[in-house]
């Protein structure tokens, strides 16, 4: 069974190598090859899931390298959490790859895209399989790299290059915190392996203060990667990349890595006394912020990006309030319907060539399958009962309700806003009459629609495994420590359905029934509207507060380096003052003497000494005897 795990990880690498080196020659065959690889690893994932369901988990590690008495090991662990994640990653990656054959049909050499996608899948699988924090850190940055490569895939677009750089650097900031967290844990607990950390913390006897700091530092990594509040600015810009890439990376898998890390090292968070609250506070701030911005965005991909940020925020809230299972469950369901939404958006953009939803309208007639699958996804994300979104969101609200009423209230507000902006999007793009005459949308080809259909069915069905119908099989499958089962609270369930339906109704009222309400609202609440439209001006704040002064500082340090340090070391600065004062007197000799000399201080004294050599014999003799007199006087005194 272990070699299934190895083959699972290594197949995408094979796909990557084939596509990178022989991509230009293989053209389409290269893409098919990488899809085959991903399909292979998906099968292995299913095998492993069956193996894990059968109750046994795999754990293997070998020493990576040693320095002195510390030895660093690298290995893989497959337990329930990993199995679920493997399925999610490989499945979504497979579907996205199939979809992108159609999407990138026109591209010149699209094999590079497939190469990066398979490299990304490899690193994501590695991240999920890794058994210790250091290995996670390794794949963590590799995943960041792939997102950089994919965002700046269309390299001749300057905005894509900028967005890629911004994504990588923001991730790097998070990674810096992540590293410090690993270092604290490594020294304080003596190990980076998850299982050992959990056992050690379980025994207790550790100063909770340090563990809290370690937890918060680890969470910094998650903030960076999952685009939580302070470091969320890169995700909306990451939409520059091709939509299938966004679907896979910026919706389903990579952004979920932050959540996965928090889940995987949950023992650290629970041991610390303040870290869980910290996680929930960050989570709720992010989701509120993102949801409010999404209300007014007009670019279809930006809306989905902000919705991802807010859904992730919700997952963080779930983890923060102790809803370990709820978080993971929402992560899984969200991966499916958010990937689906992105692929629909991709299809829409691919066919209409425009991203602004105000220009779209009435596409339902032309793109039946895309519209219908998108409708299912909207229902799921809004939390309408039979669909997966309802079950996972309900569990989160339940966990929040049990833990802290305020969080519960805010989360349901977020649920309401989510429902509202999703259906605003749906109504504006698909229903009503087409606003832009010269758009001529048409249904996307088979290869794109089939993944949509599969994803739609998944987002419909996947919620059931956590629902009471299968008596909460999911919470028995993934749980933290004592397997406590929270009983269903019907009040919370009904209120979440009500909130969802209210959101849909409002959207229908605003955009279907009387379209002038949004404009009216926008007019009289001008400042708030602009605030939201410009994303609370966070980008601008960052730019003025951090980026611009930073660049100024680099320019200053460069001038400081070349003028002060360089100058003072070989005396150029001070010498210029020296020479100017005695310029007239020794001008001729300075000019030709110094033409190739660096005019260092040493040189200047040399010139003065040289002047002593006046050529007059009697000067010399006089100087000799004066020095004799001086020496004698010195000697006598």
């Amino acid at each position: 069974m272990v070699n299934a795990a190895y083959s699972l990880a290594l197949l995408p690498v094979v796909g990557f190598i084939v596509n990178i080196f022989f991509g230009s020659k293989l053209k389409l065959k290269g893409a098919l090859f990488s899809i085959a690889c991903i399909a292979g690893s998906f099968l292995c994932a299913c095998l492993l899931l069956r193996h894990v369901i059968a109750g046994n988990s795999i754990e293997q590690s070998a020493t990576w390298f040693t320095c002195g008495k510390y030895s660093f090991s690298a290995g893989l662990v497959i337990d329930q959490l990993t199995a679920i994640m493997l399925i999610v990653v490989t499945l979504v990656s497979l579907l996205v790859q199939i979809y992108s054959i159609g999407y990138l049909h026109g591209e010149k050499n699209s094999t590079r895209f497939f190469a990066f996608i398979s490299l990304f899948t490899f690193s994501m699988l590695g991240l999920v399989l890794a058994d210790n924090l250091i290995l996670v850190y390794v794949f963590w940055e590799l995943v960041g790299l792939c997102s950089y490569l994919l965002i700046s895939y269309w390299y001749n677009k300057p905005s894509a290059a900028l967005a890629g750089k911004k994504a990588f650097i923001t991730n790097r900031i998070g990674d810096a915190g992540f590293f410090l967290g690993i270092a604290t844990l490594f020294y304080y607990l003596g190990t980076a392996n998850f299982r050992e950390i959990a056992e050690k913390l379980h025994h207790g006897g550790f100063d909770p203060h340090i563990i809290t700091i370690a937890g918060i530092l680890l969470f910094c990594g998650a903030i960076g990667k999952s685009a939580q509040f302070p470091l969320h600015v890169w995700l909306p810009d990451a939409m520059e990349g091709p939509t299938p890439a966004s679907a896979l990376i910026h919706a389903a898998t990579m952004v979920a890595a932050g959540v996965y890390l928090t889940v995987r090292s949950y023992s650290v968070f629970s041991a610390g006394n303040f870290s869980l609250q910290f996680v929930s506070y960050i989570g709720i701030i992010t989701s509120l912020l993102a949801a409010s911005i999404a209300l007014v965005q007009n670019d279809i991909k930006k809306i989905l990006a902000y919705s991802t940020i807010s859904q992730l925020g919700l997952m963080m809230v779930a983890l923060g309030v102790g809803g370990y299972t709820a978080g993971v469950f929402h992560l899984m369901t969200h991966a499916f319907f958010k990937a689906l939404l992105f692929l629909c958006a991709g299809a829409v953009i691919h066919n209409t060539g425009v991203q602004d939803i105000r220009q779209m309208g009435g596409l339902f007639g032309k793109m039946k399958i895309t519209a219908s699958t998108c409708f299912i996804a909207c229902l799921a994300i809004a939390g309408v009962p039979p669909f997966s979104g309802f079950w996972s969101k309900d569990e989160i609200l339940l966990a929040a309700f049990n833990h802290n009423k305020v969080l519960y209230g805010l989360s349901s507000l977020v649920a309401f806003m989510t429902a509202f902006y999703m259906f605003r999007l749906y109504i504006l793009t698909f229903t009503g009459k087409p606003r832009d005459p010269h758009l001529h949308p048409h249904e996307s080809p088979k290869v794109m629609t089939w993944p949509l259909i599969i994803l739609a069915s998944l987002s419909a069905v996947s919620g059931l495994i956590g629902s009471p119908l299968t008596n909460h099989w999911f919470s028995h499958f993934i749980y933290f420590h004592p397997e406590h089962h929270i009983e269903v609270n019907y009040l919370v369930m009904y209120s979440s359905i009500a909130v969802g339906l209210l959101g849909i109704a409002m959207a229908w009222l605003f955009y279907k029934a009387c379209p002038n309400i949004p404009k009216a609202l926008a007019e009289n609440y001008k400042p708030i509207y602009n605030l939201l439209l410009n994303k609370y001006y966070i980008d601008e704040i960052y730019d003025t507060v951090i980026v611009r002064p930073f660049l100024a500082l680099t320019r200053f340090s460069f001038s400081f380096d070349s003028k002060i340090i360089d100058g003072s070391v070989n005396g150029t600065a001070t010498v210029t003052i020296w020479i100017s004062t005695i310029k007239a007197w020794i001008d001729k000799y300075i000019v030709d003497g110094l033409v190739n000399l660096t005019a260092s201080m040493v040189g200047a004294i040399g010139i003065v000494l040289r002047r002593l050599q006046s050529g007059f014999i009697q000067n010399y003799i006089l100087l000799i005897f004066t020095s004799v007199i001086i020496i004698v006087l010195l000697k006598l005194i």
Partner: protein
Amino acid sequence: MNVAPFIADIKYILPEIILTIAALVILIFSVLIKNKRALAYFSLASLGITLLYVSKTPVITTSLFSGMLVNDSFAAFFKIISIIIALAVILISLEYKEISPNYRGEFYCFILLATTAIMFMGAASNLLMIYLGVEFLSLISYIIAAYWRGNVKSSESGLKYFLIGTACSITMLYGISLLYGLTGSLDLEQINAILYGNTSQPAAISIIILTILIGLGFKIAMVPVHFWCPDVYEGAPTPVTAFFSVGPKIAGFAVLLRFLLTGSIFFYEHWAHLLGILAIITMVVGNLTALSQTNIKRLLAYSSIAHAGYALIGLVIGTHIGQVSLFVYLLTYTVMNLGAFAVVIAVSNKIKSDEIKDYAGLSLHSPYLAAALAVFLLSLAGIPPLAGFIGKFYIFSAAIEEGFITLAIAAVINSVIAAYYYFIVIKTMYLEKPQAKIEIKPAPSLNFALIIALILTLAIGIYPQPILDFVIHTSSIFIP
């Protein structure tokens, strides 16, 4: 009539006698025969014989001529060095055009006489003998400095050298008279016996030491008495400058060492402090003024002042290790300096100018010569695989072993500054474009001297052991 001892001592000063006779023979023949090269070969032959004789005879330390000279390995060391210098100078000046053909014979005679003068100074242990040796060497130096009669600069350098030289030697004479007055004897041993430990008249002793220091300092171009050095080096014909930079300098150190070490009449601890300061000032002045020089002979002049400063450190240290380092330094300094001057002669024979900018691009059209000069300059700067480094290394290790940390640090900083102006020359040779495209072929004799100097510089640098054995042996007689 106790004439016998006088005759018995003659066999000890045979080398000096051979050279004087050779000089006289050259004098006579220079009038009779026309081709001057025969004279040169004759002088080389005589030098060769004396060298063989000196290196063969075992050294028995006795005092000769009732205390006038002392024949010991110290004197033998200086005999060998002075003969080597004379050989090199004659070889270098064979092709030198500026020395007018009809006075070339006298030139060789003077070089031989100068060598005998240095030998006497090396061996003198009597104040009178020291004074005569110094005067003899100075007189010959004034003559050969002004040897290039047509040239304005040469006669000016001769005049400057004469006037300042005589002034300093008369001051030394005055000091010797006072020393004689104080002790009533001219023999160094007796003077030391009398003066040792008696500090009755500090002022008188100070004046005596100072005046003698002025006289000898003049020879090694120490700081207060270094002013003549650049002008004379620039003016005198280049082979003469080559001789000045090594001959008198080493003789000066010989006498200073003899004074310092036969007995601490200099009340050693009393004066080490002053000599140390003078050494540092000499180094600093030599190096700093050299930075802005444009004429290569003046640059080498200032560099020789700086090297006198380094050698002084060896002197200041005074213990056995200090002496050994001084000898090693003088030996390596001689080899490098003569080599450098040989190249300068080869170039000035062709380009007729000593300005540094005329050396531009030398490496392109005569790579061998440029490489040789580069090696010598690097060795002067003290870069490891070469002889100069061994000299500097010994001086630094002596300084550190005896705890003269400030001296060591001053020397170290100075050697960095020195590297700068040596590199100005290397830079012009290698990094700049040449104006004129002239291929410089050095004369065979000059070439021969150059190759020997090059081989010696590299050999001492890479495997200094044989040289060290030779030096340790000679300086072993002074156990302070």
